[in-house]
């Protein structure tokens, strides 16, 4: 994984894992790698890996079962909630960029629809 070294690494791994869970690359309820393996997998510091799981646990996206390891949430509502949050972030990012280009939200929406129709017409 290519990191942006100017942003906290733990945050980037948290986002990557959430993304994998929403996209089904990580199966709901499945076992996640141990802290050390997570560190090796992403080539990150073990303390950073520990922070990743702490953060995901705090958000209810994974849970650690004593002696068994860390598991991704199997709760479909939580995963759906995550999908919505990530979609909202993507939209906010899109609108912000469009704003910088000088488009109002309404104009952005019109453009989006036009682009969509143009693709559909092909």
């Amino acid at each position: 994984m290519d990191f942006n070294p100017m942003m906290p690494i733990w945050l980037q791994v948290v986002t990557a894992i959430k993304h994998d869970l929403v996209c089904g690359i990580i199966q709901p309820g499945s076992k996640l790698p141990g802290g050390r393996d997570l560190a090796v997998k992403y080539s990150i510091n073990p303390n950073t890996a520990a922070r990743v799981y702490q953060e995901l646990e705090k958000e209810g996206i994974c849970e650690t079962r004593r002696g068994l390891g860390t598991f991704a949430t199997g709760d479909p509502d939580r995963i759906e909630g995550l999908r919505r949050t990530m979609a909202r972030d993507a939209i906010t990012g899109f609108l912000r960029e469009m704003e910088q280009l000088g488009y109002s939200h309404a104009e952005s929406l019109t453009l989006l629809t036009e682009e969509e129709n143009a693709h559909a017409g092909k």
Binding site: P5, M6, M7, P8, R36, S43, I44, P46, N47, T48
Partner: protein
């Protein structure tokens, strides 16, 4: 775990290490950074006890370093230190004779990961293979402190991933790893602390994730900010 207090080393009229106060705790991978001649290697050699301080002290678990601490501190220097007649197996045996904490199993596992063969003669090894061998035999010890001076030098891009993985695997809550390298980017994500040295002095010690959060800068950015005007 390690603490240098007002540590100073003078060679003739040159002060290689100048009143360095640096405390490093177990559970971290520390990048020791600075341009050539900034005192990193001299500082590390004082940790091993190979060089005696001119003044100040270097403490391992609160005691001055010496014969006892050497049993717990594994150091990989940049100088080549194997006899040319040695095979990879001999290198392991050589370490076994010197260090009580050496583990033959760990050595074997590390060699396998680095694709080195016991039968290989050290004089036939490429520079990259030699670099990997030095790392393997150093990490084969069950030490408390591992200090690697330039672990990525002469190692190609793909093998650097293996080295990084081995370093991460050697880390632990009761271990301290110190990496010194000019290849700052290679250490960016695996180190969690960085100590910046300049002209024998400690400029600062930083927690990297905290620095990213508060200042929005990477270790590499910070390196450029500190040394950019020096190295030009």
């Amino acid at each position: 775990m390690l603490e240098s207090k007002d540590l100073t080393k003078v060679f003739g009229n040159k002060t290689a290490v100048d009143h360095v106060n640096l405390k490093l705790d177990a559970g971290h991978i520390v990048a020791l950074l600075g341009p050539n001649g900034s005192g990193k290697t001299t500082w590390m050699k004082m940790v091993t006890g190979l060089i005696k301080p001119s003044s100040g002290s270097m403490l391992f678990r609160g005691e001055p370093v010496g014969l006892e601490s050497r049993k717990h501190i594994a150091y990989m220097s940049t100088e080549p230190y194997f006899y040319t007649w040695m095979t990879v197996r001999d290198v392991g045996r050589y370490y076994e004779d010197f260090f009580e904490d050496y583990s033959a199993q760990k050595y074997e596992a590390l060699l396998r990961k680095m694709e080195l063969d016991m039968q290989m003669k050290t004089k036939t090894l490429s520079s990259g293979m030699m670099a990997k061998l030095k790392i393997a035999v150093t990490l084969a010890r069950n030490a408390d402190v591992y200090m690697l001076d330039e672990p990525f030098n002469g190692i190609d891009l793909l093998a650097r991933d293996e080295i990084r993985a081995s370093i991460i695997e050697a880390a632990g809550p009761d271990k301290l790893l110190i990496l010194s390298s000019h290849l700052v980017e290679e250490m960016e994500t695996i180190a969690d602390q960085a100590a910046f040295m300049h002209s024998g002095r400690l400029v600062e010690k930083r927690d990297l994730e905290e620095m990213r959060m508060t200042d929005g800068v990477s270790m590499t950015d910070r390196y450029r900010a500190i040394y950019g005007h020096v190295e030009g």
